[in-house]
């Protein structure tokens, strides 16, 4: 987690502060230890790679979501946009006959465009982001079905490469690492990234300080769309085809990962490293419950409780810190 924000002068390591700021990470470590003890299947090469592949989709979606939540909004459309982007890419390759690499880029462009529309509706159309992206959730899924006629479309080999291997390492994990570094760099180092925190913390104060709040919001949603598209292509690459119902409901996993990672839904707070940990928590729990032969029905119950617990602890922590 070398992605923290400002260099603060520190004498030694303040363990208490570290624990308070990285509750999700501690939870993840405890979880992994527990699973390591509970089942010999957990800490094996294939299982860890499997977790890595699983987490890549959720985490990449959640990175995009982090931008939006830091800026004080929410994006419900990322699952649908992921599916639409992958399907568009498949259509460009299979039906329109574009070269594979162009179909890949085209898919990313479609995702970014969907995000731009979300951003315009939110910033200039004054629709609350919840509503604007709820509409996009439906529109994007509908368009996916229209394009595909409800059937899977085979994707370009370039897209399938994203689901393959680079030497011994699965490509999704490589993409995950690159996406995490890029997102973290963007959020921590660039003017647009730092502006997101100001907009999410107090949009009016940001505006009166001269920050272009509307442009920032459009960029934020465009990034969320772009990251959603990447996640959609990763998913399609693994299956060599774009599925019309791909990534349905993934927006909720993405939101959960961001929130478990310590972001505040009221905006102004959140880190990419936290989101990555949040995504890992979700995936490791699912993986562990699978290994322990817990049915998927009970898994949903557990996941729900974990989300409530994680955020509950966070709220409590902030309350005690403030008083």
């Amino acid at each position: 987690m070398s992605t923290t924000t400002l260099p603060t002068p520190r004498r030694g390591v303040d363990y208490k502060k570290f624990l308070a700021n990285n509750g999700a990470l501690v939870g993840l470590v405890v979880l992994c230890l527990a699973l390591f003890i509970a089942t010999p299947d957990f800490l094996t090469g294939p299982n860890l790679l499997n977790i890595g592949i699983q987490v890549s989709t959720v985490a990449v979606l959640a990175f995009g979501m982090t931008f939006v939540i830091v800026a004080g909004g929410i994006d419900l459309s990322v699952g649908s946009v992921a599916a639409l982007s992958a399907m568009s890419s498949g259509w460009m390759f299979a039906s329109a006959g574009l070269p594979g690499w162009l179909a890949l880029v085209g898919g990313l462009v479609v995702g970014a465009l969907a995000g731009v529309i979300n951003g315009l509706a939110n910033a200039y159309g004054k629709l609350p982001s919840f509503i604007a992206t709820l509409a996009m959730l439906s529109v994007a899924r509908g368009l996916t079905l229209v394009i595909s006629d409800g059937r899977p479309i085979k994707t370009a080999p370039e897209v399938s490469f994203l689901g393959g291997n680079l030497g011994p390492v699965p490509m999704p994990i490589v993409i995950l690492v690159i996406a995490a570094l890029a997102a973290s760099f963007l959020l921590n180092r660039t003017v647009i990234g730092r502006s997101m925190y100001a907009v999410g913390g107090n949009a009016e104060a940001a505006r009166l300080s001269g920050l272009p709040v509307k442009r920032i919001l459009v960029t934020v949603f465009a990034l969320a769309g772009l990251f959603a598209a990447l996640a959609g292509l990763l998913l399609a690459g693994r299956l060599d085809s774009a599925q019309p119902q791909a990534a349905a409901g993934y927006e909720l996993d993405a939101i959960a990962a961001v929130v478990i990672g310590g972001a505040s839904l009221s905006g102004g707070l959140g880190r990419i490293s936290g989101t990555l940990v949040g995504a890992l928590v979700l995936v490791v729990i699912r993986n562990g419950l699978n290994l322990l032969n817990v049915t998927s029905f009970w898994q949903q119950v557990v996941i729900g409780l974990v989300i409530a617990l994680a955020v509950g602890i966070d709220v409590l922590r902030r309350k005690t810190r403030n008083s």
């Binding site: 180092r189 003017v191 100001a198 107090n202 300080s209 001269g210 272009p212």
Partner: protein
Amino acid sequence: MTQQPLLTLQNVGKVFGPVTVINDVTVSVYPGQVQVLLGENGAGKSTLIKMMAGVYQPDSGHIVVDGKTVTLPNTRAAEAVGIATIHQELNLVPTMSVAENVMLGRMPTRHGLVDRRALRQQARAALALIGLDIDVDVLVGDLGIARQQLVEIAKALSINARILILDEPTAALTRHETENLFAVMADLRQRGVGMLFISHHLDEIAEVGDTVTVLRDGEFIGEVPASTSEDELVKLMVGRGIEDQFPRVSENLSQAAEVLTVENLTSTGLFSDISFTVKAGEVLGIAGLVGAGRTELIRAIAGADRYTSGTVAVRGQILPRGNITAAIAAGIGHVPEDRKGQGLVLDASVNNNLGYATLASTAKLGLVDFAGQRSRATAVAKRLRIRMHTIDQPIGALSGGNQQKAVFGRWIIAASTILLLDEPTRGVDVGAKVEIYELMNTITAAGGAILMVSSELPEILGMSDRILVMRDGRLAGELSAAEATQDAVMTLAARDVDETHEQR
């Protein structure tokens, strides 16, 4: 006054952190009398009211109701002994009917359902207590503010309130509506209700009050009859020597260049045909009543809102309308009225808050200049004596005065040469106030220009080189520092206001 008071705050005190906001104050409310609470903003009036309402607990002294010492741990306890507060922001649900609002929390039911008939009946009975005759099925949001206030008073009385605290009830009322309210108050007085009345309109005090308790900086200054002259009241309220509080050092402006020129600025419905100039080194004050369009004017100049016609020019260059970035680039810095809502990102650090205006202009290739930002912020925080633990502390944890200094600091880092100040010392303690005034001196001494809106007349009089008075969205007049007095300003600010309100 041999009668037993309904309510007495006996030698109460209140401390927030290192700041004493109320020190050894005694005030009583008698049955059938109107006790006036008088003091400047920040004198401690609202803290006192909150003690009576059970929101704050006194740190010293005690609260006596009907001769017995009580504690009021919460607002319910205050209600139970018959204390009701009518706040400036009314506690009504605008989307519900008058009847529902009056009976909120104690709706009559039949078979577990709301008994609409009984609801209307009981609500009408409550309104009749103050002779208010309105349709109880109307939504509260559709009523004017004056009627809403009366609904709230009726509601309070119907819950057997005997002590009514009226926090600036006339601030938003026309003269006619105010008279209505005073008639209701006179009637309540007949019936033995005790009232505590707060108003910034000194002329209302003799009309409606019995005795006046004067507070200054949290201290009890004196209790005088309501017939005391306004001049005398002001003297008590402000204390002697306005000069000590306002260390204005004026510059020689005879050679100074005009830096801000506003011509015929109009924003339909808010202000119209405003023209003036501000010179380098000058503090131009804008006085006027709340709602006269002062904040709207400042926001328009800052680029925060669009305007209909007219021009704003900085050093001869006309600024595009509604463009904050262009205004900042031209050297304008805006210190908004609502520090927490519009000035600061409270959860963000002091460092970040100081840097927002210069985030983009100091960046290289879109990357934030962290080291430079930090050294600039550290330097300005030191210069303005912003008291904090570290520069990475959330700014929300600082006191009001230090927060306000940080908003100034942001524009100092941005090298702004024209500062637009909207209520620059609201919610700021006395010590920090003087520091802010000294900062204004430093800025003008360095050739900066300041345009200041303030509702505190002493501040306007004490710190301005020249004063513009706004009334109903227009410039009502201009006064030089020499000829400006409270009276002169108020005459310009309030003249004809009754007639124009009646016409609406």
